[in-house]
């Protein structure tokens, strides 16, 4: 355990034209923690992930990974630094089998290899880890919604990351399908991987997060212990509108 946080952002912000999608986001994630990021639609959660992983360049602020300033670095540099991510809209490589999809990450990840046979073998291990053993030969287009999301997960894990950013990997899943994903996140945490979970499924956030960060209109609304944060009237207001929040306050 090092004292340097795996991820630290300082005053991170991004404008799209006149819209401030993310502004002044400063916080840090210590090694081995699971951080839940929540917020209503359009709060800037995905933009935040894109800023950290280099898919969008920040307008202001800094991104430090393991204490190293990687602000505005290209996505593959960030990936090679041990940061893996999933995409909210799944992005499988069609025209490759599921196994080959995962092998790409093993070939080009931080510890990359040049040996095809080893990459394909390791890919099978990753698939097993996420509960997809046996579908390695199939094209990703034939996967169910749950498996397509799991493939995103597997592709990110193929990088053997130190920091994993999960952008709504549980969206659209049934309750029975969510549990294995939560189990997987717990086991990754047990292996010392730092994880940021962006999710709408509140139950899932509560179940795995050590810390919760609430974004609203691109800014940090509040952060801290999951249970406390969810009781925060400002959080309820952001999600359900101030009239509902007022009524609740009157009730209690």
């Amino acid at each position: 355990m090092s004292a340097v946080p795996v991820l630290e952002t300082r005053g991170l912000g991004r404008n799209f034209g006149g819209l401030r999608a993310v502004s002044d986001v400063s916080f840090s994630v210590p090694e081995g923690q699971v951080l839940g990021v929540i917020g209503p639609n359009g709060a800037g959660k995905s933009t935040f992930i894109n800023l950290v992983t280099g898919h969008i360049k920040p307008s202001e602020g800094r991104v430090l990974i393991d204490g190293k300033d990687l602000t505005g670095a290209r996505p593959w540099v960030i990936a090679k630094a041990g940061v893996a991510r999933t995409f909210q809209i799944v992005k499988p490589f069609r025209g490759m089998s599921v196994r080959e999809n995962v092998a790409v990450g093993i070939l080009y990840g931080p510890q990359g290899t040049n040996v095809m046979s080893r990459a394909l073998k390791d890919a099978d291990e990753v698939l097993e880890e996420v509960g997809m053993a046996g579908v390695g030969d199939r094209p990703p287009g034939e996967l169910s919604v749950a498996d397509a999301r799991r493939l995103e997960f597997a592709k990110a894990l193929a990088l053997r990351p130190r920091l994993l950013l999960l952008d709504e990997v549980m969206a659209g899943l049934r309750h029975t399908e969510i549990e294995p994903s939560l189990e997987l996140i717990r086991s990754l945490k047990a292996r010392g991987i730092t994880i940021i979970v962006v999710e709408h499924v509140m139950k899932a956030i509560l179940a795995v997060s050590d810390q919760v960060l609430v974004l609203s209109q691109g800014k940090i609304l509040t952060s801290g212990d999951p249970q406390e944060v969810l009781r925060d009237p400002r959080v309820i207001e952001a999600y359900l509108g101030h009239r509902y929040a007022k009524r609740r306050e009157g009730d209690s």
Binding site: P92, E142, A146
Partner: protein
């Protein structure tokens, strides 16, 4: 999705042996190379059986095999449809012509240099142009090729301009003896083999996986640690290198070259059609596409003198409608899914 059977949960799917023949993985990996070697030996053996005119025709097939393979690297694997590929062909040809007639270099020195110059050109234009996607990239590269033709036409002191340039092949100005039909047959065959081997190596290695990932989704590819910019430019340069070599050989074979011929947009179009019909992003596809289209074109030219382009065009249209993903990709899918119906294939790929 009409054909695929959905499994809601990830259950174990028994792996089916497609052909029913048990083959070791090693044998399966070696098989294409053995097939390629047999094909090359057959091509060598064929040479002695051909008349002079036929030899030129077959040499042209080899030339297009090499060109289609080169286009397939950038257009098929990486998914960047280059409509200006002929620029590399013309640059290679003109570099060789100028190097032999002005600088008195041997053809055997000019040939590899032509490839290098074409690759450098691809790198220089690739860095800005490979930021464009889809139609924009296609149009930009088309513009580059058209522009290069004008540049070459307007440098008469160096290139002979529109009047053309003649490579000295006899007398004391000749640096390398003309290779003759036999020589060019072998040289084009060698280039075709080189291009197929490069395609095969790319398809099976780490590099090919990066290109296919880039083809499908560049953001996702970058997130997997692939330096997409470097990969694309490298691929473009490699594609340009092979195309430049072919252009250089073509120029020497033609002796006298003109900008309209060496920068003819039809050459690009032929490469693209061959790759699309055969199967983009495969090694066998461009090979089969080039052989089939050149063979068909020659056959029609001999038997239907007046209508041959019309019939050829019709056949291409029908082929693209029935097999939009190309013959090789269709066969692969059909064998996997056991769905051989062409109608189902049309339905699956229609826009």
């Amino acid at each position: 999705m009409p054909t695929s059977t959905q499994t809601p949960t990830s259950t174990q799917v028994p792996r089916q042996s497609v052909i029913g023949v048990v083959r070791s993985p090693q044998a399966r990996r070696l098989f294409p190379w053995v097939l390629g070697a047999v094909g090359m030996l057959a091509a060598l053996g064929l040479q002695s059986q051909l008349f002079l005119g036929q030899q030129r025709t077959v040499a042209a097939i080899f030339m297009f095999v090499a060109l289609a393979q080169a286009w397939n690297l950038i257009g098929g694997f990486a998914g960047y449809a280059c409509f200006g590929q002929v620029a590399f062909f013309g640059i290679g040809g003109y570099f060789t012509a100028v190097a032999i007639s002005h600088w008195h270099l041997s053809f055997w020195v000019a040939l590899p240099l032509s490839g290098v110059v074409a690759a450098l050109f691809a790198t220089v234009i690739g860095i800005p142009l490979l930021r464009l996607k889809g139609h924009y990239f296609a149009i930009a590269t088309l513009g580059v090729a058209e522009g290069m033709r004008e540049v070459v036409t307007n440098l008469p002191d160096l290139t002979g301009g529109g009047a053309g340039i003649t490579i000295p092949t006899v007398g004391d100005q000749a640096t390398t003896a003309y290779l003759g039909n036999d020589g060019f047959y072998l040289l084009f065959l060698a280039l075709a083999v080189l291009a197929v081997v490069v395609g095969g190596l790319v398809a099976r290695n780490k590099f090919g996986y990066a290109l296919r990932a880039i083809h499908q989704d560049e953001d996702a590819a970058a997130a997997m640690g692939i330096n997409t910019t470097r990969m694309k430019v490298l691929t473009f340069a490699l594609s340009g290198f092979i195309t430049g070599l072919v252009g250089a050989t073509y120029a020497f074979q033609q002796v006298t070259i003109f900008p309209e011929r060496l920068f003819d947009v039809n050459i690009t179009v032929l490469m693209i059609i061959m790759v699309i019909i055969g199967g983009a992003g495969t090694v066998l596809g461009p090979l089969l596409g080039a052989v089939a289209l050149q063979f068909l074109s020659e056959f029609l030219r001999e038997n239907f003198t007046d209508l041959h382009t019309f019939i050829l065009g019709a056949i291409i249209i029908v082929a693209v409608i029935l097999l939009p993903q190309g013959a090789v990709n269709y066969m692969r899918e059909a064998r996997r899914t056991k769905e051989f119906s062409l109608l189902a294939n049309v339905r699956k790929y229609r826009l």
